[in-house]
């Protein structure tokens, strides 16, 4: 299972941002060839990003590339430049079932041709009403290991405005959360657009978390630490999970037992396992205070 908290967008056309992309603590970096690159710089951005990926060793983060959509004149060139062993994941904008299926096959063909041993993943961006209705089919496609909500384009398609409360994206958020959790893949929330408003980002991230989304995009490096903090298991959660697992060991598989006077059963144990797995992956301190 892939677990992300933060995915940071970095324009592929800006050397100063590329070479610092890895220092902000994002779990994934989405190098962007789409909206943040102007039409006359698409060619140079592709070359710059390729050269950057060749010369920088980014082994601590997931390398994602947002290509231009399948129906744009840039799609084929983008993929030709970006399918290599340095790239982990293709982020596909304006996705629908057909597009994702096409990309899935296209990637397979290219991987074989280029002798790439790993499987490149796909994160479709759900930003049309059509895609929202197809979510349950899209998540079934093998390479898809997360869905990313594109709130701005989606609300345009729906012909409504974005609001602070976010009721207009309540339905797609929920739908993405359920579909992804059912498949064990990442439910990735739309970015918070006002990069100067940290309070707003905190509230928005907490809301997404409460609906079941486990990751969120950042469109500014300063957003990453806030997102990571909210979407990581808390110190209390980790501590409790550690104590649950210690108690499991002591109970010698006796099945049901109690901790702090509370019955511990399978769902609680599974949750504890997940919390610890996350904590380990995110480099958080693991351990129970009163057990040494």
């Amino acid at each position: 299972m892939i677990m992300r908290r933060s995915l940071l967008f970095i324009p592929a056309s800006k050397p100063a941002m590329l070479q610092n992309a890895e220092i902000f603590g994002a779990d994934s970096i989405i190098f962007d060839l789409e909206d943040s690159v102007s039409v006359d710089e698409k060619d140079s951005a592709r070359i710059l990003l390729s050269q950057f990926l060749i010369s920088f060793n980014l082994d601590k983060v997931e390398v994602c590339v947002r290509v231009n959509d399948l129906h744009s004149p840039f799609f084929v060139d983008d993929l030709n430049a970006m399918i290599n062993k340095k790239v982990d994941t293709i982020v596909l904008p304006k996705a629908n079932v057909r597009d994702v299926e096409f990309l899935d096959k296209f990637l397979l063909k290219m991987e074989l041709e280029r002798n790439i041993l790993k499987t490149i993943n796909i994160i479709p961006i759900i930003e049309t009403c059509e895609a929202v209705n197809q979510i349950n089919e899209i998540v079934k496609i093998n390479r898809v290991n997360g869905l990313l909500l594109g709130g701005e384009d989606l609300t345009n398609d729906l012909e409504v405005s974005r609001t602070i409360d976010g009721w207009e994206i309540f339905y797609p958020r929920t739908k993405i959360a359920y579909a992804c959790k059912a498949r064990g893949i990442d439910a990735i929330d739309t970015p918070y657009i006002n990069t100067l408003d940290e309070e707003g980002l905190i509230l928005d991230t907490k809301k997404a978390k409460s609906l079941g989304l486990n990751a969120k995009c950042a469109i500014h490096p300063n957003q990453v630490s806030v997102i990571n903090e909210i979407l990581s298991p808390s110190i209390e959660e980790i501590e409790y999970a550690s104590r649950v697992m210690i108690a499991v060991e002591k109970s010698n598989d006796k099945g049901v037992f109690s901790l702090d006077g509370k019955m511990i059963d399978k769902p609680i144990i599974n949750k504890a396992k997940k919390v610890l797995e996350k904590a380990k992956k995110f480099g958080l301190k693991v351990g129970a205070k009163d057990e040494k």
């Binding site: 800006k14 050397p15 070479q19 060619d43 140079s44 070359i47 710059l48 390729s50 010369s55």
Partner: protein, 86 residues
């Protein structure tokens, strides 16, 4: 005369111009000239060599770009070479 330009004057970037020429010429202006001029020239030369290009003039105005950026801007400028830009 064919000409191609790529890059910018942003910090950590370089603006590279490639012009059709009767011989190989390289001009470098850099904010880190004292420390890296030779290195920048080496990157430009090896990139041109790999493409078998030796009749061009390359003008590199560098704002502290790393090697990968110099290489990328040079490759983009070459790919963009056309008479239209002249």
């Amino acid at each position: 005369m064919k000409i191609g330009i790529a890059g910018s004057f942003d910090s950590c970037d370089a603006l590279i111009t490639v012009i059709e020429n009767d011989k190989l010429e390289i001009e470098i202006e850099s904010i880190v000239e004292n420390q890296f001029k030779d290195e920048i020239e080496k990157v430009i030369r090896t990139t041109l060599q790999a493409l078998d290009l030796n009749k061009v003039k390359v003008i590199c105005k560098d704002k502290g770009a790393l090697n990968y950026t110099i290489r990328a801007r040079l490759l983009s400028a070459i790919a963009r070479m056309s008479d239209d830009n002249a």
